[in-house]
């Protein structure tokens, strides 16, 4: 086949028929409509069934149409792409619906009054009251846990990456791995057993200790990864200037990785902020405001949510309060995440001129 023979009727071997850009959207819309139609006709009531039928139709339809117009290789490529999209949608739906439901139900009673008042003498089945005491409790317990867990975690990671050699490092790594797997209730029971030995009543700081135990391994792991990302050349450059090792770590290694380390800490904080079990065991819960984490029972947001559901006796007011507290907790975690991202971006090694 000579080039001269290539005319309009004989398309170039490099150019092939291709579907327009909007095809996937059209196929998606078509398969959703068809899925709903089939389900309605067959009398299926579950939306999950509708969705699954639509997803299968989408993948099959993409393959069929692409195979006919574009050929088999492009069809396979499109099927792979459509699988990725289906998986993405399946992963996002629960998240979006969770946030949607929480916001829809949570905003009902979420206002300044709710945020600034405790439950006090309001009975759990009656309307009114708020979560101020739970916010205070959460902030103090999580704050103290972070103040204990984060430094120990970061220092452990520094030891493992910068100094750790031989048996001790292996043992520490092993224990960190084991700690990562500790269920939160076990951490709570461990602290509880200590409290029983010393005959202590529930108080906020006991919860902080259990939360710190849960937080530490997460911080160690993430910080370790971040420190390993710092190129060895930077350490050597600093050492070769006659800078002692500890100063090298403090002034070169940590600043280079501080963005990632803070992100890791924030994620760990977000994780413990939602812990209920150890708080239930150790802090007990308290409808009144208790600003002192070192004495007397306290509330916390997840515990408050649990207790509102558990003690509601079917009362709508308690449910509304639980949802509003959930929304507050999610907002708190999201703000932490945003702060972490902000710090990571702000502290990231600078490029550009």
């Amino acid at each position: 086949m000579s080039t001269a023979a290539v005319t309009d009727k004989r398309p170039s071997t490099l150019r092939a028929a291709s579907l327009p850009k909007w095809t996937p959207w059209a196929i998606a819309a078509g398969s959703v409509a068809l899925g709903i139609g089939i389900s309605a006709a067959a009398g299926l009531s579950s939306k999950i069934q509708w969705g699954l039928i639509a997803a299968v139709l989408f993948v099959l339809g993409t393959y069929g149409i692409a195979a006919r117009v574009e050929g088999r290789r492009q069809a396979k490529d499109r099927v792979a792409t459509s699988f990725v999209w289906v998986a993405f949608v399946v992963a996002v739906i629960p998240l979006v619906s969770l946030i949607w439901v929480t916001i829809a139900r949570g905003v009902k009673v979420l206002d300044v009054y709710f945020l600034t008042h405790s439950m006090g003498v309001v009975a759990d089945t009656e309307p009114g009251g708020g979560i101020y005491h739970a916010i205070i409790g959460s902030l103090e317990q999580v704050g103290l846990a972070t103040a204990i867990g984060a430094p120990i975690g970061v220092l452990t990671a520094i030891y493992l990456v910068e100094y750790g050699r031989g048996r001790l490092a292996k043992a520490v790594t092993f224990f960190v791995d084991v700690m990562t797997g500790i269920p939160s209730i076990v951490a709570g029971l461990f602290i509880l057993s200590l409290m029983l030995i010393f005959e202590m009543q529930p108080f906020g700081f006991a919860g902080s200790l259990a939360l710190a135990i849960l937080m530490m391994p997460v911080v160690v792991r993430s910080t370790e990864e971040m420190l390993k990302l710092v190129p060895n050349e930077l350490r050597e450059a600093s050492l070769a200037l006659g800078v002692p090792k500890w100063r090298t770590i403090l002034k070169v290694v940590l600043p280079t990785s501080i963005g990632g380390i803070t992100t890791g800490i924030m994620l760990a904080v977000a994780r413990i902020a939602g812990e209920t079990a150890p708080v239930l065991l150790l802090v007990f819960g308290n409808p009144f405001i208790n600003n002192n984490p070192f004495e007397g029972a306290q509330a916390s947001l997840p515990l408050y949510i649990y207790q509102q559901f558990a003690n509601s006796a079917g009362s709508g007011a308690a449910y509304d309060r639980a949802w509003a507290a959930s929304l507050t907790l999610i907002a708190f975690v999201m703000i932490l995440n945003l702060v972490a991202r902000g710090i990571a971006r702000w502290k990231a090694p600078k490029t550009g001129r």
């Binding site: 050597e236 450059a237 600093s238 050492l239 200037l241 006659g242 002034k251 070169v252 600078k350």
Partner: protein, 258 residues
């Protein structure tokens, strides 16, 4: 204040692997000494034993003596940190600190060591950047990150950072191998100027470069793969390149080497 280096019977290990064996040589002050030899013969390893950076590598171990003006770097009670302040180093790939500005990079050695007066800092940074022939290119952007410079500029920034702490000896491990010919020339010119003040040891894979910049040249080789590297000979550069006393050196230089 350049200093003389006297190495005798130096052997270095990585764990149980002997990388270089029984090396002895003298490096004169205010001169440039080039190390040449095939890859893996231990040039970098030997260079790093001269400022005790070798032991930073896990398992790194050294036997033998390195005298810096009659003081043994490996003597009892010698602090490797003080050794590295006397013997500076420039690496193969430019490695400015990514979190620091150009100014802070040059000031890093002084700041991190904590022994400087604030009023001197500006002068020292300017002097070092001028010494590294970089001042004119960066004087208007001292507060910008060092990673925004070109490769050649970054390498000169690293040289400025190394000379800012006023070492006696400057070790350079293939400082031009990641650079283009123009930047290479700039660094070679710089080496010519720096040898007035420092003792310079440079590892290079580029024969012409060794011939251009160095006063003395040392040729390293290993008997076989897995064997430790050895010093074959060290002599005036002119002699090494015109009339070396060992056949292996001539083979290597003329490209007849395996």
């Amino acid at each position: 204040m350049a200093k003389r280096i006297d190495v005798s019977g130096l052997t270095a290990y990585y764990g149980s692997h002997k990388a270089i064996e029984d090396i002895s040589m003298t490096v004169e002050p205010r001169s440039v000494t080039a190390f040449i030899g095939p890859s893996g013969c231990g040039k970098s390893t030997f260079l790093r034993t001269l400022n005790r950076m070798h032991e930073v590598t896990p398992g790194g171990r050294v036997e033998g003596k390195v005298l810096l003006d009659d003081e043994d770097l490996y003597g009892a009670g010698v602090d490797p940190v003080s050794v590295r302040r006397e013997v500076g180093m420039v690496f193969q790939r430019p490695n400015p600190f990514p979190t620091m500005s150009i100014f802070d990079n040059v000031a890093a050695g002084l700041r991190l060591n904590g022994n400087y007066r604030k009023s001197e800092l500006n002068d020292i940074v300017e002097k070092s950047l001028k010494g590294a022939n970089l001042w004119n290119e960066v004087k208007d952007r001292l507060s910008k990150p060092g990673s925004g410079l070109s490769g050649g500029q970054q390498q000169r920034l690293c040289i400025a950072r190394a000379i800012a702490v006023e070492p006696k000896v400057l070790l350079m491990d293939e400082p031009c191998s990641a650079l283009d010919p123009i930047s290479t020339l700039a660094i070679e010119d710089l080496i010519g100027e720096l040898k007035e003040r420092f003792t310079i040891v440079i590892v290079t894979h580029n024969m012409q470069q060794a011939a251009r910049v160095s006063d003395r040249t040392a040729f390293f080789n290993l008997a076989a793969v897995g064997q430790p590297g050895r010093l074959i000979e060290i002599d005036d550069t002119e002699r090494i390149f015109s009339n070396p006393s060992v056949q292996a050196t001539e083979d290597y230089i003329s490209g007849r080497f395996g």
